[in-house]
């Protein structure tokens, strides 16, 4: 119930999308996330994408912590 799973948007069909969850293709609603496009990563919760995952933000975080000594 708290769970949300990262998935890649494969194909957008109106407000729904085919998403790739670890190799399995499922359908999800993208009505709650604006401005997503094919190839983007999103978090899926009970069949709805709830947030876009930003690659840039992830990389930035890793850059900061990679340098820790």
């Amino acid at each position: 119930m708290c769970l949300a799973i990262p998935a890649r948007i494969v194909k957008i069909i109106g407000e729904r999308a085919e998403v790739d969850i670890g190799g399995i293709i499922k359908e999800a609603s993208i009505a709650l996330v604006k401005e997503v496009k094919e190839g983007d990563y999103v978090l899926i919760h009970t069949g709805y994408a709830i947030a876009k995952i930003s690659k840039e933000e992830a990389e930035e975080l890793l850059e900061i912590w990679k340098g820790i000594s």
Partner: protein
């Protein structure tokens, strides 16, 4: 992308380096209790053995972050009763199916002839409604993560034989309730997925008012370790701000579209949290203009005005982070996932079920 990142977010070397730093800082500190408020965080912490990496004086406890576990018996009773009515179909998320009410669970109601069906999302429930003349009631439980999906569908005028029993609950009021009660909590790991919706702002006023460091964290081991490190650093330095470690998914302002839908469909209500009690303005109910979709009104549902916990079950204390599941006398002896006594052993995100699963050694 996820593959590359996963390697990083599970990178043992970086985790070890940060753990070393936590150890150094912890030497100067008393016993520190960090609470997280999300079942998925509990899973990450248990699964990757994060507690065993931490110094003895740094404790990480689970709070009321499992929506199924905090669903009170009066809500289960009301929906189980409703499912026994002849022309009603109740749909529910799988996790809540087996949670005991004061008399029956939904699975028992089904065995008694109730038409209870498990769905993965509220839209499936609406699809069922479209194909029947019977009345379909969706049990809409869950936190801010799930509530927008209910709002979205209600605002889209589903068929009139559809309604929702809305019991959505809100995390920040529950955090504040525990702080007000004086629970010993030195910092919070804020729930990542809830935060994708509400953003960082709601925590800022809490951090400020109660002088508690808070970190919005993701769900990989490195995310949680960074969160703990930041909280310890803040405690050491005497600061109390909100650090958004999960910025790859959580924006400061949250999900604006989801928040707009919540605002449109719902208003605040006082809500019961199992084992914890009634918390003011900690729940959502449908606005009266959507009452034709409100199962509470449509069926005149009566909710008992008290909480009920199975005898001997210590879920209340587990959910407030006062004890670890292993400290409940029934844990593993009487209460197991195949024979759960309390809600925390039922849900796969319940602290007791997670502790049970990770206590079984596989040789």
């Amino acid at each position: 992308m996820e593959g590359d990142f996963l390697r990083f977010f599970r990178n043992k070397e970086i985790v070890e380096k940060i753990v070393k730093k936590i150890e150094e800082k912890a030497k100067h500190l008393e016993i520190i209790k960090i609470m997280h408020v999300c079942g998925t965080h509990e899973w990450t912490i248990a699964h990757f053995g994060i507690r065993s990496l931490l110094p003895d004086n740094i404790k990480v406890v689970a709070g009321p972050g499992c929506p199924v576990c905090v669903t009170p018996a009066n809500e289960i009773d009301a929906i189980a009763n409703l499912s026994l009515e002849k022309d009603v179909i109740v749909t529910t998320f799988g996790d809540v199916f087996r949670v005991p009410g004061s008399k029956t669970s939904l699975i028992e109601a089904k065995a008694m002839g109730g038409d209870v069906r498990i769905v993965y999302s509220i839209s499936e429930s609406i699809e069922i409604a479209k194909k029947t003349n019977r009345k379909v009631v969706h049990f809409s439980i869950g936190f801010e993560t799930t509530a927008p999906t209910t709002a979205l569908e209600i605002l889209r005028n589903p068929p009139e034989n559809f309604s929702a029993f809305v019991t959505h609950k809100l995390i920040p009021p529950a955090m504040e309730f525990l702080l007000k009660q004086g629970c010993k909590i030195d910092g919070f790991i804020c729930p990542g997925h809830v935060s994708t919706i509400i953003g960082a702002r709601p925590y800022r006023s809490l951090a400020e008012a109660y002088r508690k460091p808070m970190v919005i964290a993701g769900f990989e081991p490195l995310d949680v370790i960074i969160g703990i490190f930041n909280i310890i650093t803040q405690i050491e330095e005497g600061t109390y701000y909100v650090y958004n470690e999960y910025s790859r998914a959580v924006k400061e302002e949250g999900n604006i579209e989801a928040l707009r839908l919540l605002n449109e469909a719902f208003e605040y209500s006082d809500s019961w949290w199992r084992g914890i009690g009634l918390i003011e303005r900690s729940g959502l109910k449908l606005k009266s203009k959507y009452e034709k979709y409100d199962a509470l009104k449509k069926f005149n549902m009566e909710l008992a005005k008290e909480d009920y916990m199975p005898e001997g079950c210590k879920c209340g204390e587990v959910l407030k982070g006062e004890i670890m599941p292993e400290e409940c006398p029934l844990f593993k002896k009487v209460c197991t996932p195949t024979h759960p006594i309390g809600p925390c052993m039922v849900s796969i995100e319940g602290a007791c079920a997670i502790a049970y699963k990770h206590s079984i050694k596989v040789f």
